[in-house]
Symmetry: C2
Subunit: 327 residues, 2 copies
């Protein structure tokens, strides 16, 4: 049986079953990041690999590769509510690449990381056939304030930061070489995503969030993960999903379904989280203070599965999004 027969999610599940948890491992494989008990706090660690042929659409610049590698890793820490400390990078590069390209990539990694209040502290440079950028990010979380995918409870509000669909629309423009004029924001959302680091820390600090993840595979797929890991049923209201207005305009103009971008497109790197209803007002205020829009899109019930309300009646939301190794 080949990897393409079972797909990435089954492989992650395989790894989760194989790797034993140690006494200090609070959260292991299967969440956005791992959490290790180091006494007074949790050390939170994650890694993400970007491979040119799958992750960097044609025309991606060195600066954009560097910035995206920082964002995807810090987004995982944000989804755990951790404060980032630093990043290390292992970078595989073809030997005939220009030195200037690597200089620009490293400069953008350094600048982007410092923009999030962290530092690039180490790395490894290797020869490879295509460009590969692997980051590992580490940070600290206070005990009792860790945001996992498994804490959602019946009665909780389901919420998401920012808007959805821009990154997937941007990817469509790049892959199908559609005219980008007027849609620069969509292309940037794809090539230069921003991690919601302050938002994650703020959510952890305010204390009412019960679960969190970042929207990487898709809103649908990531909400399915939260629902499964929390053992609950999620119901979202289609009309309240914050679709990026430019993604909507782009979809209408080119005859695409905007739901493909907003519900099933990945890489928005927004935070998807659940909140105890009595804390919703506080969460809104905390995010408003840092200038980040937030929308309540649904609620959690007893049961299983993810459902979406359309014109008064509920239907099952397909568990669909980006997955490696799948056709």
């Amino acid at each position: 049986m080949k990897l393409s027969d079972i797909g990435e999610r089954s492989l992650v599940e395989l790894a989760r079953r194989i790797c034993k948890l140690g006494p200090r491992v609070e959260v292991g494989i299967g969440d956005d990041a791992a959490a290790i008990n180091i006494g007074d706090r949790y050390l939170v660690v994650t890694t993400d690999m970007l491979v040119a042929s799958t992750h960097f659409p044609p025309g991606t610049k060195a600066e954009q590769m560097g910035r995206k590698a920082v964002a995807v890793n810090l987004s995982d820490l944000a989804a755990m509510g951790a404060e980032p400390l630093g990043l290390v990078f292992s970078v595989g590069l073809p030997r005939d690449l220009e030195v200037g390209f690597v200089r620009r990539m490293i400069r953008s990694m350094d600048a982007a990381t410092r923009g999030y209040g962290a530092y690039v502290v180490g790395g490894d440079l290797d020869e490879s056939e295509e460009i590969i950028v692997t980051g590992a990010a580490f940070g600290l979380a206070n005990k009792g304030r860790l945001l996992t995918r498994s804490g959602a409870k019946p009665g909780d509000i389901i919420a998401v930061t920012g808007n959805l669909g821009a990154a997937a629309a941007g990817l469509k423009i790049l892959l199908e070489r559609l005219p980008a004029r007027g849609y620069g924001e969509l292309v940037r959302a794809q090539l230069e995503p921003i991690a919601r680091v302050r938002e994650g820390m703020s959510l952890a600090k305010c204390g009412y969030a019960t679960a969190a993840t970042d929207v990487t595979d898709s809103l649908a797929a990531n909400l399915w993960q939260v629902s499964k890991m929390s053992g609950v049923k999620s119901i979202i209201d289609r009309a309240r999903v914050p679709v990026h207005p430019l993604a909507l305009k782009f979809a209408e103009r080119h005859g695409f379904e905007v739901e493909e971008f907003a519900l099933f497109g990945g890489e928005d790197f927004e935070l998807l989280f659940t909140v105890r209803p009595e804390g919703w007002r506080r969460v809104q205020l905390a995010l408003k203070r840092i200038g980040t829009p937030v929308a309540a899109i649904g609620h959690v019930e007893r049961g299983r599965g993810v459902y979406i309300g359309r014109e008064g009646k509920l239907e099952r939301l397909p568990d669909r999004g980006y997955e490696h190794f799948k056709v």
Copy 2:
């Protein structure tokens, strides 16, 4: 200018100059691992990427890839004197690879990591053209006990654990398809290296070691790094370099220079370190207690450069070893 024109070391130096150090960063780019001040201790973090076409000789098994990826990362923590906590892995795999291959690789990662007293806590699986295994390891070090490359002082003894030259001899057998019968230990040294984790922790604990690194590029190249970063001159005695007896036998039988393996071959993953002379006896005892041979091979003086004694007179030891991107 292309990467192959300047080589890996110049690229690392470029990255070191670009990346700013934060207030909590005690050791950044340029040592075996980074060290971050997290209050009472240092968090020590490293990353190493293994790329099939450069790091895995023909015939390397999935289990060996997994074990080597663990060892190369933990060896960096060992060289800092840190206690390992865990590892995360980003693995790039071709989509037509067999699931069984990946299962065997992950199982060996888990088993090897636990053998060192740590845990695999997370990862990322991606599609790539060739097999890429990037690890990131993290651990803790007590303050005042961190072993860096820059602490060697005039008067110190230069020492190394174990024997040298086996991994490079093993690589020669694999690359030139020489008969391996009777040389299994050399091939295993190349394919299944062992990280000196307990030794590194023991050296840090006993308190007399002043600098340390692991022998990855070569004894010569790694000693040059320590000498440059410490601002000292190193003098080693050729007769005291612990050459692996089987590497010697292999070299003699096939007409190779054993010094090529022991002085200029890489990947032995032994610890190369300096010790205050008054503590040498204690260091010997500490390593004897865990069953690891150790040899004093030279001493540190005021000045610059690395010299080797041959038949009573000193000559400059070439700064030569494995380097990526170089022909």
